[in-house]
């Protein structure tokens, strides 16, 4: 690991911690900076002026039940989508691939829409989204296996196209039959992405699943380096391409599925963040993956904090990530072209 990489990763960590502290402070419930500082100091065991702790109980509840789950979700989902994107870009040897390439987002959208049309309780809608995300990827892999003997990037991409289109059509069908006064708007709103409904329990579930998957993927970063040279090189250098790909697809799908389950469809992060990260730190997945996770977490946390504090009505996240992501992407492309 080069010194430059360590510096970048350490800086990103510091920025993330600072962003988290600022995010706890921001929100519709007004807390003065002095109060905020005092409460943090108090929680850390320092002695503080009691006059600043008058709203301690209220603020503790707000922090624990409202801001913590939301901040945790933003960090986890930002990291998940970015790593998932970086992994798929490497595996497909194509920097323009996004986490949805194998159909996980369409599948999950269908699962969620189905749950909403059937008026299932919210937790079942989420589980349905999670399961159908996996079913869609499984369908893509089956198509690829059937026609491509289980390997071959092209077949995987085509499998993904088929699966995405199929579930996309199913979603349209559900929208068509959904009650236009309540179900249809909630499907549409869900597909724009939002972190507002994440609760404490969900945040912990997500934290454990995401941590496990991230660690699992990180262990395979050397394999990913080889896979991103293309199938033949990877094989010739000693990677069991089929098994490794399956394992990595499984973990990357898990990451995306958890994200969609909690927050609906949030676009752009999985495409843009790996680009920016790769541009700054290089292509070596050993450092690229943790760095992508950090940048993604910072990005989504900042965007979500803007979304919940700057506007009086919350703007869906998917819209904001695109609006913020596109200029960043253009900047990255611009610097990329200039650098070479």
């Amino acid at each position: 690991m080069s010194k430059r990489a360590i510096t970048y990763i350490a800086s990103a960590m510091i920025i993330l911690v600072v962003a988290i502290f600022i995010s706890f402070w921001l929100g519709h419930f007004p807390i003065s900076f002095l109060e905020y500082k005092s409460i943090i100091m108090y929680k850390l065991g320092f002695k503080v002026d009691l006059a600043h702790l008058s709203k301690l109980d209220e603020i503790t509840i707000i922090f624990r039940d409202i801001r913590f789950p939301r901040i945790a979700a933003a960090v986890l989902i930002g990291a998940s989508l970015s790593v998932s994107g970086a992994v798929f870009q490497g595996m497909f040897v194509n920097p323009l691939v996004s986490p949805g390439i194998l159909g996980v987002l369409s599948g999950a959208s269908f699962g969620a829409a189905l749950g909403m049309v059937l008026r299932l309780p919210w937790w079942s809608v989420q589980i349905s989204a999670f399961i159908f995300g996996f079913i869609a990827v499984f369908l893509a892999l089956t198509v690829a296996k059937f026609y491509g003997k289980g390997n071959g990037i092209l077949m995987l991409v085509l499998g993904g196209v088929i699966s995405s289109s199929l579930f996309g059509a199913f979603v349209s069908l559900l929208k068509y039959v959904a009650d236009p006064y309540d179900t249809l708007p909630s499907i549409v709103y869900w597909m724009m992405g939002s972190l507002s409904s994440v609760n404490l329990f969900e945040a912990w579930i997500a934290a454990s699943l995401v941590t496990l998957s991230l660690v699992g993927i990180l262990i395979f970063s050397k394999h990913l380096n080889l896979l991103s040279l293309g199938e033949e090189d990877a094989k010739a250098l000693g990677v069991d391409v089929f098994k490794t790909r399956f394992f990595i697809i499984f973990l990357a799908t898990l990451l995306s599925a958890v994200s969609v389950m909690l927050a609906g469809v949030i676009g752009w992060i999985g495409l843009v963040v790996p680009h920016v990260a790769r541009f700054l730190i290089g292509a070596n997945h050993v450092v690229l993956l943790p760095f992508s996770a950090l940048i993604g977490a910072i990005f989504l946390l900042v965007v979500d904090s803007i979304s919940r504090s700057l506007f009086s009505v919350e703007v869906p996240l998917g819209i904001l990530t695109s609006l913020v992501g596109i200029p960043v992407f253009i900047w990255a492309l611009h610097r990329n072209v200039k650098a070479h």
Binding site: V93, I219, K235, L237, V239, D240, R278, G282, A283
Partner: protein, 259 residues
């Protein structure tokens, strides 16, 4: 070292090679010659295990398709024709990948792997390339990096697909000398080339491939001759022996209708 018995292979339903048999001895250099599209690269891919084949292909007595991939990477190294990587790996990172088969399930490569990688770069004469970005190198420079990666694999057998194509005159010489010195160290080398002169210069055995089968094989100076060049390439040429003992080919005319 390598024993091919009745090898047939191709892509999908299209058969490219039919029933190929020959043997490669340890510590020798073998060159495959043949016109474009006759299956030289295909045969290399089968040998490396990248292509399914029928028949038997024994590498040190073991059937190639049954050797686990990691072990295979330890036994033989492959230098592909050209690799386009859309990502900005540094040259050292690319060469380190040659150490993959020897590395554990850890995040980084070991100190000795780094040493081997750097040593391989120096071996092919590009030790100062380590921190350059592979994607931004010229075709010839990339070729040298891929050769360094193969050397870093420390396999006894190195299989090269047109290693000299795209190199400037200096690098061509460098590579030919390197092939010779690797052979003298006991490596077994297999390569394809489009230059009969190079085949004459550094091969013990030459195998002519055409129409999916072996047209001729044997000692380089015996099987590379004017008649064969006319048959395979449609080129009329003359053959000269230099006082140094080297033989070279002077192509004179191209004939539209091959014999």
């Amino acid at each position: 070292m390598l024993n091919l018995k009745d090898i047939s292979c191709g892509y999908g339903l299209k058969k490219i090679l039919n029933s190929i048999s020959f043997e490669i001895k340890e510590g020798t250099t073998t060159t495959f010659l043949g016109a474009n599209g006759t299956g030289k690269s295909t045969l290399l891919k089968a040998i490396v295990g990248l292509l399914t084949y029928s028949g038997n292909l024994f590498l040190k007595g073991e059937e190639v398709r049954k050797i686990p991939v990691k072990k295979r990477a330890k036994l033989l190294a492959y230098v592909p024709q050209s690799t386009n990587i859309p990502f900005d790996f540094t040259v050292l990172e690319v060469v380190l990948m040659g150490r993959f088969h020897a590395s554990k399930l850890s995040l980084n490569y070991s100190k000795s792997d780094f040493k081997i990688a750097q040593g391989s770069l120096e071996r092919v004469g590009i030790g100062d390339f380590a921190n350059r970005v592979y994607r931004l190198l010229s075709g010839g420079e990339r070729q040298l990096v891929l050769l360094a990666r193969a050397i870093a694999q420390q396999s006894q057998l190195i299989v090269m697909d047109e290693p000299i194509t795209g190199l400037d005159l200096g690098n061509q010489m460098r590579l030919l000398l390197l092939i010779d010195s690797l052979k003298n160290e006991g490596y077994t080398l297999i390569k394809t080339t489009h230059y009969p002169d190079h085949a004459l210069r550094v091969s013990d055995q030459v195998v002519w491939i055409g129409e999916g089968k072996i047209l001729a094989s044997g000692y380089a100076k015996e099987v590379i001759n004017i008649k064969r060049l006319k048959e395979v390439y449609g080129v009329e040429s003359e053959c000269y022996d230099h006082p140094s003992g080297q033989r070279f080919i002077l192509p004179l005319r191209f004939m539209e209708n091959k014999i």
